[in-house]
């Protein structure tokens, strides 16, 4: 575990810091004859997150939790409607716009749909070379060797370089996407469900690759996933999202072994586990982020909801050093 050391050595601003970030989309819907009304859809609602340099954080949530919107905010693809999203102490939008900040080179992204993120008309060699050329990282003469090196690093045979993405398997395409992301020698890697939808053996190979790269390059990793196993394997810290808010955060293993938030506990119980009887599932489904009820947003499905949960919206508060949860009646963490 080298991350805490790195943190201590560099007291600089964290890589990412979100301060009560809100993102509200205006949605219109018909309201009677020839009339529409506009409502706010809060995709993110008061998100606080700190991603220190050299750390690895898993962002976990089901569909509709706001993970994707959070990702877009972090990458500067969308601006928060409220609150502050900072990259090394600067607003992300500003950092993105300023060439000197190095944001575009420093922060690399791996998409869930790796195939879609690769131009189908470009050969693998060109795809991997694009960041090298764009940031002027090596001369034209060095290019082929550098590309070959990157491909070897992600475990791809050299003959892949001349192929097009359509001729590669799902696992290979993910490796190309990783090679491309690493080409610019970033310090931050953001990955959106980078290992989902693959066979377990391919997934395991990729997870090992990512773990090794993180270690050897000292990457700050932000990994978005729905799989608690993946989160636990790859990340030291975890943040659980529900309906546009982080409901629990802390060291991954501590959080998963003794969840404080009932939603975390429910996620944990719902994840398949060898030979355990199937747990009583959480009732209902994630409600629409339009017209949120007052009070705790999880109250409608919470097995531990009490009367005050309907009225009071719990804030993310510290439970023990390093652990936070947004719950009025948290479970005992045993800490």
């Amino acid at each position: 575990m080298s991350a805490p050391l790195a943190q201590a050595a560099a007291p600089a601003a964290p890589v990412f810091e979100l301060l009560d970030v809100e993102k509200v989309y205006q949605v219109t819907r018909p309201a009677g004859f020839l009339r529409r009304e506009t409502r706010g859809l809060a995709a993110l609602d008061g998100v606080r997150l700190r991603v220190p340099g050299g750390s690895s954080t898993a962002l976990v949530g089901e569909s509709g939790s706001g993970k994707s919107t959070l990702l877009r905010v972090l990458l500067g693809l969308t601006r928060p409607t409220n609150g502050q999203a900072l990259y090394r102490g600067r607003p992300i939008a500003e950092a993105r716009a300023a060439a000197a900040s190095g944001f575009t080179r420093d922060v690399a992204m791996i998409y869930q749909d790796a195939r879609g993120s690769l131009n189908p008309r470009m050969a693998v060699a060109d795809l991997v070379a694009e960041p090298l050329r764009h940031f002027g990282l090596c001369t034209a003469a060095e290019l082929p060797a550098r590309v070959a090196e990157l491909l070897a690093r992600v475990g791809l045979p050299g003959d892949v370089a001349q192929r097009y993405p359509a001729a590669l398997s799902g696992g290979q395409v993910r490796r190309v996407a990783i090679a491309r992301a690493l080409a610019a020698e970033p310090s931050v890697l953001v990955a959106d469900e980078a290992v989902s939808g693959l066979d377990v053996s391919t997934q395991a190979q990729l997870l090992n690759l990512l773990a090794d790269l993180k270690e050897s390059m000292g990457l700050t990793l932000l990994f978005i996933t729905h799989d608690l196993g993946v989160a636990s394997y790859l990340c030291e810290r975890i943040a659980i999202m529900y309906l546009g808010r982080i409901v629990e955060a802390g060291p991954t293993n501590a959080v998963l072994e003794a969840p404080a938030h009932p939603y975390t506990a429910a996620l944990r119980a719902a994840s398949p586990q060898f030979f355990a009887p199937i747990a009583e599932p959480l009732p209902g489904e994630i409600p629409s982020p339009v017209d949120l009820p007052p009070g705790c947003r999880f109250a409608s499905r919470c097995p531990r909801a009490e009367a005050d949960c309907q009225g009071t919206d719990p804030a993310l508060t510290s439970l023990s050093p390093g652990r936070t949860a947004a719950c009025l009646h948290p479970l005992a963490t045993g800490a």
């Binding site: 089901e62 997934q203 395991a204 190979q205 090992n208 293993n253 998963l256 030979f275 599932p281 009732p283």
Partner: protein, 319 residues
């Protein structure tokens, strides 16, 4: 066969399926007792969905060539049946829940019309009776406000609700055997747990058997009595899911299990490479090219599926 029950509902032997020159399934044997749940597990290309689709009679002769037998209690060999008889069985004694309910419900028809058409055709119910039964069914699979949902189109429902509708349609005529083809892989985990529970509870209540097609070994261990591990169309190992997964004897089962992430897993040790392309598939045991325990004979000679104490194994060099 490997079944422990004396009264098998379905027994499949030597199921071989070709698509063109490719042998997608290679001599698959399996059997299933009444009320039993069976998991077909394996990675993509293992042929697990193909088995389900073939046993439902959904493959046209132009799409695939099928050899082997599949005895369904009271019907004889399914593969010998004429198409008319098949369409009588489907939706009746045999039913299926699909992977992506959003795609398996016809977008142009209401939920009600897709549900009542089965009831009217199979059970001969009148319009009003079918409607009433449809409401009961939707209610029983946990859909609130069932009467109003009948006139909804599939896209107006959430993924979980769509899958509940699929379950209701599949159970409409109390099938003897339900195929569930990755019924939850498109859903969030909390919804996945709901749907698996729903399928298990409903089939159990009806005394029906169920064949789950799954890629998640842990989920298989939780939901199924027995398990069949497949690799590239061959059965590697089969038996009670507790025994097979606790003490796998086939190297593939062990490797597959070692790739499953559990919370706190320290290090994964996946097998290198991937499933070979069809042209390079070994003639014998298809796992031979990736097997850490492969012997010289493995690639050329297919190991027979041998029975031993309720377990079946196809390996020349088991653990």
């Amino acid at each position: 066969m490997q079944t422990s029950t004396a009264d098998p509902l379905l027994s499949v032997s030597g199921l071989t399926l070709h698509r063109g020159a490719r042998r997608i399934l290679d001599g698959v044997d399996l059997s299933l007792g009444r009320g039993e749940t069976l998991a077909l597990v394996g990675e993509s290309g293992a042929g697990k969905s193909t088995i389900a689709v073939a046993l439902m009679g959904l493959l046209r002769p132009s799409e695939a060539r099928i050899e082997g037998r599949a005895e369904l209690a009271g019907e004889g060999d399914l593969f010998g049946l004429p198409e008319r008889r098949w369409s009588g069985l489907r939706g009746g004694r045999l039913a299926m829940v699909f992977q992506d309910a959003g795609a398996a419900l016809n977008p142009c028809f209401t939920v009600g019309s897709q549900l009542t058409s089965v009831l009217r055709r199979k059970l001969g119910l009148g319009r009003a009776a079918a409607r009433a039964r449809a409401v009961e069914l939707l209610d029983s699979v946990g859909i609130n406000d069932a009467a109003a949902r009948l006139s909804a189109y599939p896209h107006q429902l959430s993924g979980g609700m769509q899958q509940r509708v699929m379950v209701a349609i599949a159970l409409a005529c109390n099938p003897d055997l339900l195929f569930a083809d990755e019924p939850t892989s498109a859903l969030d985990v909390t919804i996945q747990a709901q749907i698996v529970r729903l399928i298990l509870d409903q089939t159990r209540a009806r005394g029906a058997s169920c064949i789950f097609v799954l890629h998640d070994l842990a989920l298989a261990s939780q939901s199924c009595d027995r398990i069949v591990v497949l690799y590239a169309g061959q059965v590697m190992e089969a038996g009670s899911s507790a025994e097979v997964l606790k003490a796998p004897r086939h190297p593939y089962t062990r490797l597959l299990k070692s790739c499953v992430l559990e919370i706190g897993t320290a290090r994964l040790e996946p097998p290198a490479g991937g499933v070979p392309p069809w042209e390079e598939m070994p003639a014998g045991c298809r796992f031979a090219s990736r097997c850490p325990r492969a012997l010289p004979r493995c690639a050329g000679e297919k190991p027979p599926l041998t029975q031993e104490g309720g377990r079946a194994l196809a390996c020349w060099n088991p653990e």
